[in-house]
């Protein structure tokens, strides 16, 4: 067993490399994924090492990328497609929602579509519009798709391999502003968690933060800040999987703490946080000391980047919600 320190971007790369070594049917497709290695370098060197048949620079057309990936999957391949930025998945929305999500159901289970749709998502990088969105709820809302996201290099490495191995289509959200965060990975061993398992990242007794992707770091920082101020003892649950949700871990945590705040970047209205709030109140009603609160983006289009420090939840807003939950 070897331990390696690497960034989330490198870990995703290593996970794809491993998946490609293990299964010659795994093919990467997307804009600029070849020679350039993707605009975030997540597929760096893979075309050099696996060739142009297995790492395909596609024409600039997302519906084309998804539609042809479906066809390749029908022919027995396991396409891993990259959407360059969150805001550019919409030309492919029809293929994903109308075809990818439903084909197994329509074929009475005879057709499997083992696709992975990689989407770098979220804000905080000072980008122009369409480069900072958190649109995971559209896909989590769609039956037939699995939706996951990683917050650590270890998860990036293992979850990518698990997603590729899944016989269902998996939308894999990558927290782009965390691409360069480093962490340790145990290579060679079995994955530490199941793909759809939620993980308690920090134990606490007073309030549960349900969070994922880029907001795990912010939530952990908030928990630590609370501790330093002798404030509440905050538990942080990294959901990892947005569809399905790991109800066992979620309800066990909230049953213990009695309070729950959902933290994500996406606009709250009809988002992941709406579903989580509904589920928690339904499943943990008698344990709750306070209503489930939500901290997320405001319900406006993603604003110009000079606003994003206020649009995106930060440590203060998380603590503000924690205080509000404790005040009940």
């Amino acid at each position: 067993m070897t331990t390696q320190k690497m960034t989330i971007a490198k870990a995703l790369n290593a996970g794809m490399r491993k998946a490609m070594e293990d299964d010659p049917k795994v093919v990467l497709m997307g804009e600029d994924v070849g020679k350039l290695g993707g605009v975030f370098r997540v597929t760096e060197h893979l075309q050099k090492d696996f060739g142009e048949h297995r790492v395909v620079d596609t024409p600039l057309a997302e519906s084309g990328i998804l539609g042809t990936a479906v066809g390749m999957a029908l022919r027995g391949y396991r396409p891993v497609v990259e959407i360059q930025f969150d805001g550019f998945v919409y030309p492919a929305f029809d293929q994903i929602v109308s075809q990818v999500a439903k084909m197994h159901y329509r074929s009475l289970g005879k057709i499997r579509l083992p696709l992975v749709i990689r989407i770098p998502y979220g804000g905080g990088i000072g980008a122009v519009e369409h480069h900072s969105e958190s649109n995971e709820a559209y896909f989590a809302h769609t039956a037939g798709l699995r939706v996951v996201t990683c917050a650590t290099p270890e998860d990036a490495y293992w979850m990518m391999q698990q997603a590729v191995a899944s016989d269902d289509p998996v939308v894999f959200y990558e927290p782009k502003r965390r691409y360069h965060e480093r962490g340790f990975i145990e290579l060679g061993e079995a994955a530490p968690y199941e793909l759809h398992e939620a993980v308690v990242r920090r134990e606490g007794t007073d309030v549960t933060l349900l969070t994922y992707g880029p907001m795990v770091k912010v939530s952990l920082a908030a928990a630590q800040a609370a501790e330093l101020e002798d404030g509440p003892d905050v538990e942080v649950v990294d959901l990892r999987s947005l569809s399905p949700l790991d109800l066992d871990v979620i309800t066990a945590s909230v049953a213990k703490t009695g309070r729950c705040v959902v933290v994500n970047e996406a606009q709250t209205f009809l988002g992941m946080s709406s579903e989580l709030a509904a589920l928690v109140q339904q499943e943990c009603f008698y344990h709750l000391e306070a209503p489930v609160l939500r901290v997320g983006g405001y319900n406006i289009p993603y604003p110009p980047s000079r606003h994003e420090e206020h649009f995106l939840p930060d440590l203060d807003r998380v603590l503000h919600a924690v205080d509000a939950a404790l005040a009940y």
Partner: protein
């Protein structure tokens, strides 16, 4: 050997990338050109001849003014690049090398003609009277555009590749319904221009736009700047038949023009716009040019293209080309050129200063303009945000 083994690639598999066999700076025999790379007037052959008349009224003054635009637009661009490097902008997509394509197209438009840009059309914006500061503000993250598109007949930048091609077509369909086509009144007849790149031609919206425009015979001109790169992907990843030839298949003419020759882009665009305004339908123009810089300030082109290619195109520089012509013809002297440089410096100073001083928008403004009519959720959140922020003042 398992039947999964991909070492068994059949011979019909697509070929790997060889270095281009042909000279990619060569636009071929179909390309309209009036000025060669050395700034010499080219005797128009059968391909260029039909457009020659559109230069008849381009007198010495007009030539100097085209050159002035090329120089000022290049200066705006280099200032944008520098401001990004200084941390004043989040991003800047440079138009370096594409000045003649954009200025020729922009100058060919009449005031009432409407442009739908992508995100690199700073030169067209300039010709349509949009202050460069507006472009800088957008890339600074102060707003998402914010200029008055109806005042300038220049739509907001569209970042999602291909979307604007359909908007342009629909706008042109509106122009048709208003009867502003084919009246013969030059102040009234209106055409629309849609801009995209070579990569954009692969997108579904682009192809749908061409279908809609052809079916409607809409007064729209599709202007594809083939700068040979879509980030890291060369032309052969996007198409086999070049865009100008594909136009015919959609049902209207396509023209390839030397995109580094402002006289050619100007003449060809004028002809296409006139065709559109007079009710004869769409035209596609492929401006054969080159992206001299990185895709944007976030990109590193050394990862995917060779310096020799860039050098070959540098020899075809659109700004140098017209300067050589003007000098050779005795239309400008050193003093005139020095004055123009000084004007460019003044412009650069102004936009640099005003960009650096551009204040961040007040944060409560992010809740404005989400809807045209009142919306209770936005109002509630704006109020909650204000109260939350006020809490910090009290602390």
């Amino acid at each position: 050997m398992s039947d999964d083994d991909v070492a068994q690639v059949p011979s019909s598999a697509p070929a790997t990338h060889e270095p281009p066999a042909t000279d990619i700076t060569d636009g071929g025999p179909d390309m309209v050109q009036f000025l060669d790379a050395d700034g010499q007037r080219v005797e128009p052959g059968t391909v260029s001849e039909p457009y020659a008349a559109y230069l008849d009224d381009v007198d010495d003054e007009a030539l100097r003014s085209l050159y002035r635009d090329l120089v000022l637009v290049r200066r705006v661009d280099s200032e944008g690049f520098a401001l990004q490097r200084q941390g004043e902008l989040g991003l800047w997509p440079s138009l370096l090398g594409q000045e003649a394509a954009q200025v020729g197209a922009g100058r060919a438009m009449r005031t009432q003609d409407y442009a739908f840009p992508g995100y690199r059309e700073h030169g067209v914006a300039w010709c349509k009277g949009v202050d460069p500061l507006n472009l800088l503000g957008m890339f600074r993250g102060v707003n998402h555009g914010g200029w008055d598109s109806a005042e300038h007949n220049f739509h907001l930048y569209t970042i999602v590749i291909g979307n604007q091609m359909l908007h342009a077509t629909g706008y042109a369909m509106g122009v048709q319904r208003d009867g502003d086509v084919g009246t013969g009144d030059p102040e009234r007849d209106t055409a629309v221009m849609a801009f995209t790149g070579d990569g954009g031609t692969a997108q579904g919206d682009y192809n749908e736009a061409l279908v809609f425009a052809a079916v409607a015979q809409a007064p729209v001109v599709f202007f594809v700047q083939n700068n040979h790169w879509a980030i890291s992907e060369p032309n052969d990843r996007q198409f086999v038949i070049p865009p100008y030839q594909r136009a015919r298949g959609f049902g209207f003419p396509g023209v390839r023009v030397d995109g580094n020759d402002v006289l050619a882009t100007y003449a060809v665009t004028r002809a296409a716009l006139e065709r559109a305004r007079s009710g004869q339908g769409p035209t596609l123009i492929e401006a054969f040019t080159y992206r001299m810089g990185a895709h944007t300030t976030s990109d590193d082109p050394t990862k995917y293209r060779i310096a020799a290619e860039v050098d070959a195109w540098r020899a075809k520089d659109p700004v140098d080309r017209l300067r050589k012509h003007l000098v050779a013809q005795g239309l400008v002297d050193d003093q005139w050129l020095a004055d123009l440089d000084a004007e460019a410096d003044t412009l650069a100073d102004r936009i640099r200063r005003e960009c650096q001083q551009m204040p961040d928008p007040p944060h409560e403004e992010m809740f404005e303009h989400v809807y045209a009519e009142p919306h209770p959720l936005v109002e509630r959140e704006a109020a909650a945000f204000a109260a939350y922020m006020a809490g910090f003042d009290e602390d």
